[in-house]
Subunit: 145 residues, 2 copies
């Protein structure tokens, strides 16, 4: 999964502007989410175990969620909020749980048009897609046949 450059200074500014403490664990977790995308707590613990305690991962995750620095996705992963990454939606595989980002201008346009057909001027939207990824499509076929 490709990601935009890590805007660590944007994060620091955000904390400062909101009167929140800037600590090492918060920076570490922010970098992890910015560079590796949506992850679960256990995944982050595995990756960051040497840099911060498990309890701190959970507490910092809660802190991020409460302060809108991150959001939870349909499949239980956590990712940076809208302010810290480009706008996109999710596509989750219902079998293997793999999740990938959708950044699709055609889809964005379709949403705007659909709203317009009903007389609305679209301001915001949330979209969650779920289905079978290419790998699981193949696997389920071979099982069924």
């Amino acid at each position: 999964m490709a990601h935009a450059p890590i805007r660590l200074d944007q994060f620091e500014t955000y904390l400062k502007d909101h009167g929140l403490s800037r600590t090492k664990p918060r920076r570490v977790l922010y970098r992890a989410l910015a560079s590796a995308g949506p992850q679960t707590a256990p995944q982050l613990i595995t990756t960051l175990g040497s840099e911060m305690d498990r309890a701190t991962v959970y507490r910092t995750l809660d802190f991020f969620l409460v302060n809108a620095i991150a959001v939870r996705t349909t499949d239980g992963h956590v990712e940076l909020g809208e302010s810290f990454r480009p706008h996109h939606h999710h596509l989750v595989c219902t079998i293997c749980g793999r999740s990938q980002a959708v950044d699709d201008q055609i889809l964005e346009g379709a949403l705007t048009e659909a709203a317009k057909r009903q007389g609305f001027m679209l301001q915001t939207h949330q979209v969650e897609l779920a289905g079978l990824c290419s790998k699981c499509q193949t696997l389920s076929k071979s099982v069924i046949q």
Copy 2:
């Protein structure tokens, strides 16, 4: 939370048509989800603990998810899938709060195509749109100018 009548026969038919076993625990879990709406595994275990084993709750939940009988929501709850409750999206006006249903085949097609572009076969989706309804667009213009 108000819910549509429990279509247990629809569920039975679905299982039969897909060559899946119809068992008591599956019926119990289905009724629980149909009558009480989205719930977490622990909640279901508390409620149904006397009727089925914890392990069975988890296994049946997985079974429901894999077979698209249920889906997972953003906050980690599980609810019945599209086939077992009316499909609809919402369009909410951010000023007057008026909400209307969206039943737009073009939009549905656009979602399917967007998933396909990433190699996914779309099974379910959730869409929430928000913006200004025609009336409030007019009103806000007259206020601004």
